[in-house]
């Protein structure tokens, strides 16, 4: 067990940027999820920590050791590869016990066997232990790869999308298992995923990364409710957050009037936020609101107006896409029992407590209309 510190890690593959100037400070026993879309630099970050890839610049410290000049074998980290990287000539058992037979991490044979059986049981692959790798499904291979890392007691776990190839049901149960294991083992873990739900449910903190740079680092709630940039807001949540441009029509202490979606709308925001918006040099901002905060009104008059563009029922919820009067598309999450005809006229309102304001020019977070998450969720 150990803390982890990355300082200014930079890696270019030729001219292509892997990661640039990544700095992270991860205390002992933290479970950090690294979240980003494909090609964001997540795997490169893990490879740099593991020592598989050498950085152009920057430094990695595990615990009190600076490991920059150490071989991967000497860094005492265990990694789960996205490609599994299992030894195809060996069986499941032999794969899992392989690290425990190495010169560096050798355990007594009995103890090694006990650990393999323990984790194989946890991963529900104990009935497959004597199978060759070729005879496994992708999900079983992935669990074997996870097991090979878990049997060790390293300073650091590095997990590269360890659940991505499991079917939805198994993924949910494995997520719960991992969560429990996280609390039991207490080993510092860097967990890479492109699934925002996984990132939020597993991580003590979430690092959002894209284009090789860390966009935001914070607790799951923080990243979700106070995204540092429009991009972060767009990466979290499905369906995606609505981002629209809004003109601040009349600046006033308590209530501001926004012109957005082609209509005038008075939204009351707390005093300090109103003042902050007053102080902006530009009178245009970007406003974000989640699809769940869009309410389809029944009376056909109040709020914003639009036409139903598409309607996707998803069981308990449905996704409604609306062409607003102003031309922008707005996504809304509505109750599953309501149905909407395409091209039907609808009107909708947006919860004033749920607005997130971004700077128009640099897309950075300015403020959100409710002060606290509690206020938002209970209010």
């Amino acid at each position: 067990m150990a803390s982890l510190q990355l300082t200014g890690l930079t890696k270019f593959y030729g001219k292509r940027r892997g990661v640039e100037n990544v700095s992270l400070d991860i205390p002992d026993q933290e479970f950090l999820t690294v979240f980003g879309p494909a090609g964001a630099g997540k795997t490169t970050t893990l490879n740099l920590i593991a020592g598989i890839v050498t950085p152009n610049q920057g430094s990695v410290r595990i615990g009190t050791r600076v490991v920059d000049s150490l071989e991967p074998a000497d860094r005492n980290v265990a990694m789960v590869f996205e490609s599994y990287a299992l030894y195809p000539q060996l069986t499941v058992y032999q794969n899992m016990v392989f690290p425990l037979k190495s010169p560096k991490h050798r355990l007594p044979a009995q103890e090694a066997e006990r650990r393999v059986h323990h984790f194989a049981g946890m991963l529900k692959i104990d009935h497959l232990l004597n199978r060759p790798i070729q005879a496994l499904s992708n999900g079983q291979r992935q669990r074997t790869a996870l097991g090979r890392a878990l049997v060790r007691q390293p300073d650091l776990f590095l997990m590269d999308e360890p659940l991505s190839h499991l079917d939805a049901k198994l993924r949910h149960s494995m997520r719960a298992e991992l969560k429990e294991m996280r609390d039991q083992l207490g080993t510092t873990t860097i967990y890479v995923t492109h699934d925002y739900l996984e990132a939020m449910s597993l991580g003590d903190r979430v690092a959002v990364i894209n284009h090789g740079q860390i966009l935001q680092l914070g607790a799951p709630d923080e990243v979700y409710f106070r995204p540092a940039t429009v991009e972060v807001a767009q990466l979290f949540g499905d369906p995606e957050i609505n981002i629209v441009e809004a003109k601040i029509q009349r600046k006033h202490r308590e209530a501001i009037r926004l012109q957005m979606l082609g209509e005038d709308w008075s939204a009351s925001v707390p005093e300090d936020i109103g003042r902050m918006l007053d102080a902006l040099s530009s009178d245009t901002i970007q406003v974000g609101f989640r699809p769940a905060d869009v309410e389809i009104a029944a009376d056909g008059k109040t709020g914003f107006h639009g036409v139903v563009y598409s309607f996707e029922p998803l069981g308990t919820k449905s996704v409604l896409t609306i062409d607003s009067v102003g031309g922008q598309r707005v996504r809304a999450l509505v109750d599953g029992h309501r149905t909407f005809q395409v091209d039907r006229r609808v009107n909708f309102s947006v919860s004033t407590r749920a607005l997130i304001f971004f700077d128009r020019d640099n897309a950075r977070y300015l403020a959100r209309s409710s002060q606290t998450e509690e206020e938002y969720s209970h209010g």
């Binding site: 991967p72 990694m79 990287a85 299992l86 000539q89 392989f98 690290p99 190495s102 090979r148």
Partner: protein
């Protein structure tokens, strides 16, 4: 119970297939068979084309009691050593060409392959002169060295494909599991390329064993059996029976080796070519 009944058409198809395969096998094996038959024929009946003759082991006796055995072992020493040297040099070379990015990588790989393009006869004259000067003429070392022209390109190019098929992640995983690079190479990578290693090794051995031009001109006392079989073709008489017996003996190591490792061989020859 479900009884599987084959349609008459399928049976006929199967039969035709078998007949064709059998015909091809006969066609391919006939020279070998003819060689064996010739080796047990007396000289007087050598030129008859019927299969009726009085079998004799006299030819084998003559060949085995001559110094042919010495040349046979010469060939064995030179060929085995050449393959071993090629393995020691070629496996790391194939690995490097598969894994690392360096300048002129493809050019180097192609140059190695191009040693196989030129007929041996094209370079034999300068090689002969150089060997005379360096004192490599008529030595084991000289032959083993020049055989690398035959065996090394083959080995490198076959094994390169096998190494390319192994994901670099597997190497990284084994290193993270606590193994040094050398142990990763020996314990993880070598077992994975074993089929290729076996197939390439055997092919190299066959090519080295059958080498003719190089030993003919670069060796004398340490001559190999391939070349020595020539001497039964004297200017006055031709002892076809003895040539055949010598050739049959000469073919033995290849046949035995191929039978021993045939399980790996088939897999090896088909495995490297197909990418998953």
């Amino acid at each position: 119970m479900i009884q599987r009944t084959r349609s008459p058409l399928a049976v006929i198809g199967k039969t035709i297939q078998m007949i064709l395969l059998l015909a091809y096998a006969l066609f391919a094996l006939f020279p070998l068979l003819w060689m064996v038959i010739m080796s047990i024929k007396p000289d007087s009946q050598m030129l008859t084309t019927t299969f009726i003759f009085t079998p004799t082991l006299e030819n084998y006796g003559t060949v085995l009691h001559s110094d042919y055995t010495r040349f046979f072992f010469n060939n064995l020493i030179v060929s085995v050593a050449a393959v071993l040297v090629s393995l020691v040099v070629g496996v790391p070379a194939a690995y490097a060409l598969a894994r690392f990015q360096f300048k002129l990588k493809e050019d180097i790989a192609f140059t190695i392959l191009s040693f196989r393009f030129a007929p041996e006869i094209l370079v034999i004259l300068p090689l002969y002169l150089i060997y005379q000067r360096l004192g490599l003429y008529d030595t084991y070392l000289g032959l083993i060295w020049v055989y690398q022209l035959i065996t090394l390109p083959l080995l490198i190019w076959i094994l390169r494909g096998f190494f390319e098929d192994i994901s670099p992640d597997i190497e990284a995983a084994a290193q993270l599991d606590g193994y040094s690079w050398w142990r990763v190479f020996l314990q993880v990578l070598l077992p994975l390329v074993k089929p290729g290693l076996v197939a390439a090794g055997l092919l190299c051995f066959i090519f080295a064993w059958n080498a003719f031009t190089f030993p003919l001109l670069l060796a004398n006392n340490v001559q190999t059996s391939t070349v020595i079989a020539l001497r039964y073709l004297a200017s006055d008489t031709v002892h076809y029976g003895q040539v055949a017996a010598a050739a049959a003996i000469s073919a033995l190591p290849e046949v035995i080796l191929a039978l021993l490792i045939q399980k790996h061989l088939v897999r090896g020859l088909s495995f490297g070519a197909v990418k998953g």
